[in-house]
Subunit: 182 residues, 2 copies
């Protein structure tokens, strides 16, 4: 649940962060900045600010904005109607991102699992991404990610996005947030 | 035909332009900066510097770097083996880009057709892109583009790239350049 005023505030924050990193957006895009509140009522800890540049039936490109230590909870993109599931490349533009995917667990992961949600983080193969570094996540693969202390901006290049099909490990997550008027 | 020394020089120029715009790349990417010389022996007028971040069988993302008034000659991406042809979104990151596609000709186009190549520029429906503005070019559609006086950086989000399948209006163009040692 996201209050209209908080949505507005986070949109402005996202806009400011993009601008600080020299990423220009149009006025129309400004009001399309999406706040993925995810229904956990702690968007600054578990959530994401994003801007979708283009999403066609063939490809998609977004800018993801993470506040300091903000975490996008564990999820995967399953096969949908003949599509093998979304494949995505995360390219870090600024800051640090700690990305976790299926595979051998990293001994001492840098990210901190959000308190109270420990049961819903199950993959710990760590990939650290700094500016200019990228990683491609295969379809139907569990993953989650957290920004470092400075936050991060990440470009996402992918096949078609079908957010409503995403499967989150945490059953409390609602991918499409409810906005409530203040 | 591109001399090894000129390739190196243009790669460095591309790297510098990206860096000036706060776009971080890795050391490995630095040496993968591509110079599309196109065989016309005037790469600074007709050519392109580019960096492919990712090209999978599902999507592709590149950064295109255009020197001041540099032109990418008219071409299209035809259907290939069941694929309807590359669809691409150009997003201007900095500078100005004048993009021309099929459709009603613009009365007084801003770009100047490269001298001596007039016969090979046939579409004049103009789209002007400044920072943050973008346009999606349908598959199998003729297009060409030129940077303004300051040059430009353009992010390209697209379906799979198959450069060798591109069809250029100018039969002299060779998409895959020959590098000659100095």
């Amino acid at each position: 649940m996201l209050k209209r005023s908080e949505l507005k505030h986070l949109q402005q924050q996202g806009e400011r962060i993009l601008s600080q990193h020299g990423i220009a957006i149009t006025d129309a895009e400004r009001s399309n900045i999406e706040v993925a509140e995810l229904g956990l009522n702690e968007v600054q800890k578990q959530g994401l600010i994003l801007l979708t540049y283009i999403n066609t039936d063939r490809y998609c490109a977004k800018e993801l904005i993470l506040l300091p230590r903000q975490t996008c909870p564990e999820h995967k993109h399953p096969p949908v109607e003949g599509d093998p599931g979304k494949m995505e490349t995360f390219r870090c533009r600024s800051g640090q991102v700690y990305l976790y995917v299926e595979g051998e667990s990293t001994a001492a992961p840098v990210a901190r699992v959000p308190a109270g949600s420990e049961d819903y983080y199950t993959v710990f193969h760590e990939i650290q991404l700094g500016p200019g570094e990228q990683f491609t996540i295969p379809p139907n693969t569990l993953h989650w990610f957290q920004a470092g202390d400075e936050g991060a901006v990440v470009s996402e290049f992918s096949s078609t996005s079908r957010d409503e099909a995403d499967i989150f490990t945490d059953p409390r997550v609602e991918r499409i947030p409810q906005i409530v008027e203040d």
